[in-house]
């Protein structure tokens, strides 16, 4: 199995990336799989280029493909202005519409205060529901104080185990390709 991990953290080192790594490790502990981690910072310019040109450059294409081809996805963003960051949303906007449909997804977010903890359920969860992903029940929000707390590890383990279980129990869904499996023109003529 293949797990794609997307982190929208901007600083170096990044607490968002740290959360993404810990979630990935917890998932791998529950079920053996290959992990590919994508730091969006390195693709920020390519993402804007893709929005303006209408296609993903040769640098960006493999990144989008690795998400589309994965069996599961961990998506982690910092909280900006009470939502996912613009860079995170730009990445989602550039993904193929069907790229995560039917795919198990674990959502995570970091923030400066616990008052933003509902960003997961008010911003990330509806976004991935719209994309027809299978969002696992436990999402992990980490405020500054949580890094010093004692409960974070248990929440991460629980989320990772849920994702691993969902990935193991699910046939990989592959989006239909209109080029290799085109519509029948008789159907189009018949208004179907």
């Amino acid at each position: 199995m293949k797990l794609a991990v997307v982190s929208a953290g901007l600083s170096q080192p990044s607490s968002t990336r740290l959360l993404a790594d810990r979630l990935a490790a917890a998932t791998v502990r529950a079920e053996e799989m290959d992990v590919e981690t994508i730091d969006l910072r390195g693709h920020a310019h390519h993402l804007v280029d893709a929005m303006l040109s209408g296609f993903a450059s040769q640098d960006l294409k493999p990144v989008l493909d690795s998400v589309a081809e994965a069996d599961g996805l961990i998506a982690v963003t910092p909280t900006y202005a009470s939502s996912y960051s613009g860079l995170f949303k730009s990445f989602v906007d550039v993904l193929d519409e069907e790229a995560v449909a039917g795919k198990p997804v674990l959502i995570g977010a970091t923030g400066g205060t616990a008052r933003h903890s509902l960003v997961l359920d008010y911003a990330l969860r509806p976004l991935f529901t719209y994309l027809k992903a299978i969002v696992v029940p436990t999402g992990v929000y980490v405020a500054s104080e949580d890094w010093a707390g004692t409960t974070l590890a248990a929440r991460i383990d629980r989320a990772g185990a849920e994702l691993a279980r969902e990935m193991a129990g699910r046939e990989k869904t592959v989006a239909a390709d209109p080029f290799t499996d085109p519509v029948s023109f008789e159907d189009l003529l018949g208004g179907r």
Binding site: V48, G54, P182, L188, G191
Partner: protein
């Protein structure tokens, strides 16, 4: 192999002078560019259709009719004619009329158009875009081939015992190219009818263009029109040339940077790496164009965009001079072995 020019009649500011042409100037200049294209030995001139600013080409058959009177050899075509928002009855009649005026040197490219607000101006809805392209063309196809048509569909009033007049010249319907940038349904449509397929590959990487063309070729074969290699493919291209490569880049860069399509995005250099845009010496443009054959196989029509983005009329005419003197002779020689040839009125008459 046919070579030609295509454009959409955009009005844009020339970043070097801050000046933009009036609608009157732009329309008159398009005619002069077409006349010049014939002079330098081009085979095709194609005019786009747009109904919103900054474009002036809302009535391509009017412009083409005038060009027909000023030329004698060049094929008059479109890039594109909107099959979604135009009544197919009117398309059938307009292009048959043009055939008679131009003694048959007429074909057309059909496309859907992609701007939502335009559809309701013609009583249509962009959500029906594919359905309109399918139904309207099915009717258009019959109107040119059957003298009396009874017809009923979803998107216009039924027809009873209707005859589109005038009938196509010599009983030969204008050859149709279906143009689509990214709708696989349209590549399937072109293959179903055994018509031509034009991919306007400017702005797009070759992987995407290849997928569209391969789909069309496969459908052409699937629907019994012959082997995939016999399908009729057209491609776009965009060029700007000066004798020295660096001069071309320097002169063109402000047009690129101010373009509503290119501006603000990937750099000119990156765009040239990833799309067909070719700015440089004549030899560089030749080399870039020759690569199309390697990427997509033998093809039948190559159209260049040379007059957009605010380039002044004088510069456009210079570009065509360079094209005629240095580029076309080489491309004709290098592409001479490509088969099949594009259909013409004469070839389809016999």
């Amino acid at each position: 192999m046919q070579f030609g020019i295509f454009g959409v009649g955009d009005i844009a500011v020339d970043p070097w002078t801050g000046r933009s042409p009036s609608e009157h100037e732009r329309i008159r200049n398009m005619v002069e560019v077409a006349v010049k294209a014939e002079e330098i030995g081009m085979d095709v001139v194609a005019v786009g259709e747009h109904h919103n600013r900054p474009f002036v080409t809302s009535s391509p058959t009017t412009i083409l009719g005038y060009i027909a009177a000023r030329t004698s050899r060049i094929i008059l075509s479109t890039s594109v004619t909107l099959i979604t928002t135009n009544d197919p009855v009117k398309i059938a009649e307009d292009f048959a009329t043009l055939q008679h005026l131009a003694d048959g040197r007429v074909d057309l490219m059909l496309g859907r158009g992609n701007t939502g607000p335009v559809y309701p101006w013609f009583g249509k809805d962009i959500r029906d875009g594919i359905a309109l392209a399918v139904e309207n063309y099915a009717l258009l196809h019959r109107l040119w081939r059957e003298d009396v048509v009874d017809w009923e569909g979803k998107h216009r009033t039924p027809l009873q015992s209707f005859t589109a007049t005038p009938r196509p010249l010599d009983g030969v319907p204008p050859f149709v190219w279906h143009g689509s940038i990214r709708s696989p349904e349209i590549a399937v449509q072109a293959g179903y009818y055994g018509d031509g397929f034009f991919h306007n590959n400017i702005f797009w990487p070759k992987e995407h263009t290849k997928r569209m063309i391969d789909l069309y070729r496969g459908q052409f074969e699937r629907y019994g029109h012959g082997p995939a290699g016999q399908a009729i493919v057209g491609l776009g291209g965009q060029t700007f040339m000066r004798r020295e490569s660096q001069d071309a880049i320097e002169e063109f860069r402000p047009y690129f940077d101010n373009s509503p399509v290119y501006g603000g995005g990937p750099s000119l250099e990156q765009t040239m790496r990833e799309t067909p845009l070719s700015v440089g010496s004549p030899q560089e443009v030749i080399d870039r164009t020759l690569r199309f054959r390697e990427d997509f196989g033998d093809y039948q029509r190559q159209l260049f965009n040379v007059d957009g983005m605010g380039l002044p009329h004088k510069v456009v005419l210079e570009q065509l001079d360079i094209m005629g003197e240095e580029v076309l002779p080489v491309l004709r020689r290098e592409f001479a072995s490509m088969r099949p040839l594009a259909p013409t009125h004469e070839s389809r008459k016999s």
